[in-house]
């Protein structure tokens, strides 16, 4: 039930009230970091939203032009700091593409395990924080409880809990430690039944449904026009996932894996698992669907991790050897996109033949996803702004870089 004003002139003849410009952010509990939204409000209704960026700009791209590709890996961690592993992967694949470096089977499966685990961790934060945006605190802590266990696993792998720098051009910095697969398996077994809790507290909760259904509807055309990707795009019913539709160098990682792209096709979601039913108030492309897609992707990623672990344990080869710092990059330019948790993460690299790139550029998904905000936030009540911005699941580190 969106409170939209169809005819702007109606306000004009209503009781005279003043418009107010309100700064939401950069210090605001629900702008996910240092986003600043300038709201033009008439009472509770927001008539215009202008996002302002740049509060977290750290010149990552420029720094990339002064470091070797391996040295720049830690900077990719700090872009989407909630999915460092996936950022590492994007950059690593981009450099490997330039170097025409091929990996062993084992290294590929290892990357699938790690990246899908990273996706789960990232979606858990997105889910928990979305609950926080809607005013419920407990699911946030539940989500963090599970994320902690993933971080524990990551810590065993690479020693870091947030900025991993694990996946590097040429493979990874180390192999998985002994017994890690069992621990991962244990975690998945323990996590699988808990997902029902999140569905009870959020997805199927009556108030949650009231707050998210038919709010911030993003039509498929609009989503494509604005360059939205990831769960935001799939939440609008566009069947597009780079893990299936991407470049050969990226999709070969997922060769032979059984997974369906999570998006509503012909009125229903994939039926590979038991999912809660779509409420009848929900409209394709609204906040609820974006959230739902994330929830289903968690289950999908768990499935992928299980498949990858089976393959990894029987695969041949090693985890790969990181490229040398002094490795000369052949002249030329490459661009490669991967499916990060928040959408399409593209890296562009131009080399003039030295070991340091001449130009580095990142294309982040959150930036494009945020750009729909002024469009879909028109004429909604103030309370829906956090609901919409939260459902886009943006990370400011990735937007400002």
């Amino acid at each position: 039930m969106a409170t939209q004003i169809d005819d702007q002139r109606i306000i004009e003849f209503d009781v005279r009230t003043d418009e107010m410009l309100v700064n939401m952010g950069p210090q605001h509990p629900s702008t996910h970091g240092v986003l600043r939204l300038v709201l033009r409000t008439d009472g509770e209704i927001v008539s215009e939203v202008t996002p302002h960026l740049g509060y977290l700009h750290r010149c990552a791209e420029k720094i990339g032009e002064n470091l070797t590709p391996r040295q720049w890996i830690p900077y990719t961690d700090r872009m989407d700091y909630l999915a460092g592993m996936n950022m590492n992967l994007g950059w690593a694949l981009c450099v490997e593409k330039l170097l025409q470096h091929d990996l062993s089977e084992k290294a590929k499966h290892l990357r699938v395990i790690i990246c899908e685990m990273g996706r789960i961790a990232s979606h858990l934060v997105g889910m928990g924080a979305y609950g926080l945006d809607l005013g419920t605190f407990s699911p946030f802590l539940y989500a963090f409880r599970e994320r902690e266990r993933i971080l524990d696993l990551f810590e065993e792998v690479c020693g870091a809990r947030l900025t991993y720098s694990y996946i590097t051009p040429g493979g990874a910095t180390a192999d998985l430690p002994k017994g890690w697969l069992q621990k991962c398996e244990q975690f998945l077994d323990q996590f699988q039944p808990i997902i029902a809790e999140y569905h009870a507290l959020l997805t199927t909760n009556a108030i949650f449904i009231k707050r998210t259904c038919d709010i911030g509807v993003l039509t498929p055309e609009m989503a494509i026009d604005f360059g939205c990707t990831g769960p935001v795009l799939r939440g609008s019913g566009v069947d597009y996932d780079l893990r299936r539709d991407g470049e050969e160098r990226y999709t070969e990682m997922y060769d032979g894996y059984a997974f369906e792209v999570i998006c509503q096709k012909d009125g229903h979601y994939p039926k590979d698992h038991q999912y809660p039913a779509v409420p009848k108030d929900a409209v394709l492309g609204d906040c609820w669907h974006r959230f739902y897609v994330r929830m289903l992707e968690v289950i999908q990623s768990m499935d992928l991790v299980r498949q990858a672990m089976d393959r990894y344990s029987v695969a041949s080869g090693d985890w790969g050897v990181p490229i040398k710092l002094a490795t000369k990059l052949p002249p030329g330019d490459v661009y490669l996109e991967t499916e990060a948790p928040r959408g399409q993460m593209g890296f562009y690299l131009v080399s003039n033949g030295g070991n340091i790139p001449w130009r580095v550029r990142a294309r982040s998904s959150s930036f494009c996803n945020l750009s729909v905000c002024p469009e879909i936030c028109k004429g909604v009540p103030i309370a829906d702004i956090p609901a919409i911005v939260g459902s886009l699941d943006i990370v400011m580190g990735e937007i400002d870089r």
């Binding site: 005819d7 002139r9 109606i10 003849f13 209503d14 009781v15 005279r16 009230t17 003043d18 009472g43």
Partner: protein, 199 residues
């Protein structure tokens, strides 16, 4: 000193003092606040007189209802951050004349009532027994003159003698005012605005 007298002076002073503060202040919201205190003190006077129901009514309707709406209205329609009103000296004179006249009239009426000139000896009895129960008010509104039942007057028949008719008239009147206010405040469309929108 009797506690009753003391509290009466206290509430009366607060009531009058804050009423003057309402007039003297220029900030609308502060005015509203002073009015709250003034009206609440009046409620205190009612409680002191043993009229609990009327006192609670005063708080509920005047302090709780009307003033919340007043402040709400001020906040909604305020153009500046803090609204201040400057009274012109001509307004002062006009208000003083009318207010003074009204006050004089009231005082004159009050002093002309014979019974009110001498203090009652049985104050405690009055405050503890008489208006303490709300039922009499309810029954008066239902058409009984509870205060005059002892007269045994056959003209005070049920339904004919109490305040039922005025009560009903006022109730209907209020309803009409309510609907009228809602209608006036409603969204209005210009005739033909729909077609304009299409063009």
């Amino acid at each position: 000193m009797n506690w009753h007298t003391l509290l009466f002076y206290l509430f009366a002073l607060m009531s009058c003092g804050f009423a003057i503060a309402v007039v003297a202040s220029s900030n609308v919201v502060r005015m509203a606040f002073f009015l709250i205190v003034s009206l609440a003190s009046t409620a205190g006077l009612f409680f002191l007189a043993g009229a609990h129901f009327v006192g609670a009514m005063q708080i509920m309707i005047y302090v709780g209802g009307t003033l919340v709406l007043l402040i709400f209205g001020v906040m909604l329609t305020a153009h500046a951050a803090f609204v201040s009103m400057v009274t012109k000296s001509s307004d002062w004179v006009l208000a003083a004349v009318f207010g003074g006249a009204l006050l004089g009239l009231l005082a004159l009426t009050a002093f002309s009532v014979e019974d009110w000139r001498v203090a009652r000896g049985d104050q405690a009895a009055v405050t503890s027994s008489e208006g303490e129960f709300a039922s009499s008010i309810g029954q008066a509104l239902m058409g009984m003159r509870v205060d005059r039942l002892s007269e045994g007057n056959s003209q005070l028949e049920a339904g004919m003698s109490g305040y039922l008719l005025p009560f009903e008239i006022i109730a209907i009147h209020l309803l009409v005012v309510l609907i009228g206010a809602a209608y006036l405040a409603r969204t209005k469309r210009r005739v033909g605005s729909v077609t304009e929108g299409v063009q």
